[in-house]
Amino acid sequence: MNFDLNEDQQLTRDMIGRFLGPVDIAARHAMRGAEGGYSRARWQDVADLGLLALAAPEAMGGIGGTMVDLALVAEALGKGIAIDPWLENGVLPIRLGTAIGNSALVGELVAGAQLAAVAFAEPGRRYETEALGTKAEGAQLTGAKTFVLGALLADTLLVTVAGDKLANVAKGATGVVRQDYPVIDGSNAATIDLHRAPAELFELPEAKFRRVIGDIRLLAAAEMLGLAQTMFDDTLAYVGERQQFGAAIGSFQALQHRLVECYAALEQARSMVLHTAMLDPTTDNANWPRITAGAKAFVGEAATRIGLEAVQMHGGMGQTDELAIGHALKRVMLLDKLFGDQDHCLRSFARAA
């Protein structure tokens, strides 16, 4: 048994720390205010650092990182409250591209030459992932999708289609009607209506899709862990500095006990992420979506709680958009619902147990 990072993992973590640097709220606001809320030049940096290649198998020109490797990346990105959509526009399309065996697409995605958004959610279907409302007739798609993260930024759309298919649709293709809207972490999503849109169709067996969903759930949990760590660290520092009633507010037992509870939740969340990531090689495809759903619900609850405590303990300042904790909480709120909120994920975990 060993919980130490290996040399590569340590190097990757340090590299991400340097890439992200200290949280710069003004720079975040500036980038979110720009077209698309992000920059393709920065995405190229993410690709050049090898963070996308890590998610692709060696056979498709990737680095073939383990779930532990990827979870450590997600955690490091969370810790630095990365603005980069590594998970939703990087790992998710790369894993899907791998699942459909399209090495040309994976190669483009890994290189940062193409950026893909994934259309998996349908209006009125909540967190269900079976694509009932999107149908292919020949090579044309008709249907409606929602919550397509990063669509504004993307070159191509990967669309789940009824009958266990995945379609690759050029964003500007005829019959694609997109409505972009801002979401809680400052990025964009879109609703997409497809009217006989030309598409390239691939088989995506349900088991493979559910495997990918499991991967994303675990990495969302890992990113939330990093975000929770930063919210906790910032709060611990703040209660040591903030003076009221002639003392640092961290000297008040009422706050101390709550911080200890946050600390316990954080440690438990870390254990859950590592435990689940290490189970990957020995877990069959049927069980992977279940245990990752449990992990995400567990970590999501911890991170949400830590985030709300962080905001409360920061008092008035905690309400503003000027602190890292608020930006971290908003990202947690998005990840907590990605591929299922806590209720949904706990149900998946309980049902199949």
Binding site: R125, Y127, E128, F147, E322, G326
Partner: protein, 402 residues
């Protein structure tokens, strides 16, 4: 012991219902519904304020000799409950609920004549200069100084979390007029005009992207000594009187119960994604049930306090209990609303307002558009007007005598 209304009270309730049916403009109700912030903007709030003012009902917390309605606590409760059910916006508390009663209770006749009619008419818009960057929960440590200069005070310092300072033409301030005495004893209560070179308002944007609060810089701001309420050094007594009105004084449960009714309606139509509606989902139904029980119990807690007030017993620290409970229920409701909207609940529009012709289109249900912003802004409930931690300290000390 009974919960019955008298015939007069039932007649009054009918009168209020009739008035709301005929006088609450749909665009005002819609604006309130689609406001993600804690307070409605003046373009909504003042419209309703003036309608109530014309009716003579706006100052329903004030005694009749100050131009109020002179209503009994039960009438106030009935009025607020009916307003909540009708979806009327909550009025800005700053003039009507906070500084108005202070002027009624502590002001001179001249001050009453000068300020109260303009509060009722909605021609003066007030903001509150209490918190400072270094003095939040520990309010009595405030540092903003006022020194006498002839017939004026000159005020230097800074106030923060000042709701609607960017709309206000007056600010009521706690200031230190004596630095030599015990910290509470050196505080005075001043009314300061905003439109002068010594007052600068700097916006603070919330996590949700709303501009409700500000930092107000007072750099040699001037006000007449006639604008001091009470004596020098009496400010802390006045401050506590005002805070009890801020924390209590209005009824939270009717609005919370209405929000829960709305939640239930929403759950009744929101698809579960697999089979039926979310309302048919036992986990959701139980979460709603828990909130309903909390809010119903709170309504009776509020009525018990009301009965004490009606019999002339002091409400005092009970207001802290209601503030503590209602703010947490409020937050839980807003959390559940977001959850009901699923992915749609994650939209966070940057444009404001979200009502009127310029509003961006909603994704999914109209309510989904304000859900996330409201949830984020709702965090402030357990901070403003004294944080939950402060309320617990007050209850521990003054009720439990710990």
């Amino acid at each position: 012991m009974d919960l019955d209304l008298t015939q007069d009270e039932m007649d009054f309730r009918e009168e209020v219902r009739d008035f709301l049916r005929t006088s609450l403009p749909p665009q005002v109700r819609d604006g309130a519904k689609r406001t993600p912030g804690v307070f409605v903007e003046p373009d909504i709030g003042l419209v309703w304020h003036r309608i109530l003012s014309d009716k003579g009902w706006v100052a329903y917390h004030w005694p009749a000799d100050c131009g109020g309605t002179g209503w009994t606590p039960m009438q106030r409760y009935i009025f607020e409950k009916e307003c909540a059910i009708a979806g009327a916006p909550a009025l800005s508390v700053l003039g009507l609920r906070l500084v108005g009663p202070v002027i009624c209770a502590f002001g001179t006749q001249e001050q009453k004549d000068r300020f109260l009619p303009a509060i009722r008419a909605g021609t003066d818009y007030w903001c509150q200069g209490y918190s400072e960057p270094q003095s939040g929960s520990d309010l009595a440590s405030l540092r903003t100084r006022a020194r006498r200069d002839g017939d004026e005070y000159v005020v230097d310092g800074s106030k923060i979390w000042t709701t609607h300072a960017h709309h206000a033409n007056w600010i009521f301030c706690l200031v230190r007029t004596d630095g030599e005495v015990k910290k509470q004893a050196g505080i005075s209560f001043l009314l300061v005009p905003m439109d002068q070179p010594g007052v600068t308002v700097s916006p603070i944007i919330t996590m949700a992207g709303d501009h409700e609060v500000n930092q107000v810089f007072l750099d040699g701001a001037r006000t007449s000594i006639d604008n001091r309420i009470g004596e020098e050094g009496q400010g802390w007594t006045i401050a506590k009187f005002l805070l009890e009105n801020e924390r209590g004084g209005s009824f939270h449960a009717p609005r919370l119960i209405r929000a829960i009714d709305h939640l239930e309606q929403l759950a009744g139509v929101a698809p579960s994604g697999h089979n039926g509606t979310l309302g048919g989902d036992i986990q959701i139904a139980i979460r709603i049930a828990r909130l309903r029980l909390e809010a119903e119990a709170l309504e009776t807690t509020e009525l018990r306090i009301l009965a004490d007030i009606a019999k002339g017993r002091p409400a005092g620290p009970q207001t802290s209990l209601v503030k503590l409970l209602s703010s947490e229920i409020h937050q839980r409701i807003d959390g559940l609303v977001m959850d009901l909207h699923g992915y749609d609940g994650l939209q966070l529009p940057t444009a404001r307002p979200l009502y009127g012709n310029e509003a961006p289109p909603a994704i999914g249900d109209d309510d989904a558009q304000v859900a996330a912003a409201r949830y984020l802004n709702s965090r402030a409930w357990t901070v403003f007007g004294g944080s939950s931690e402060v309320q617990k300290n007050i209850i521990a000390k003054t009720v439990l005598r710990l």
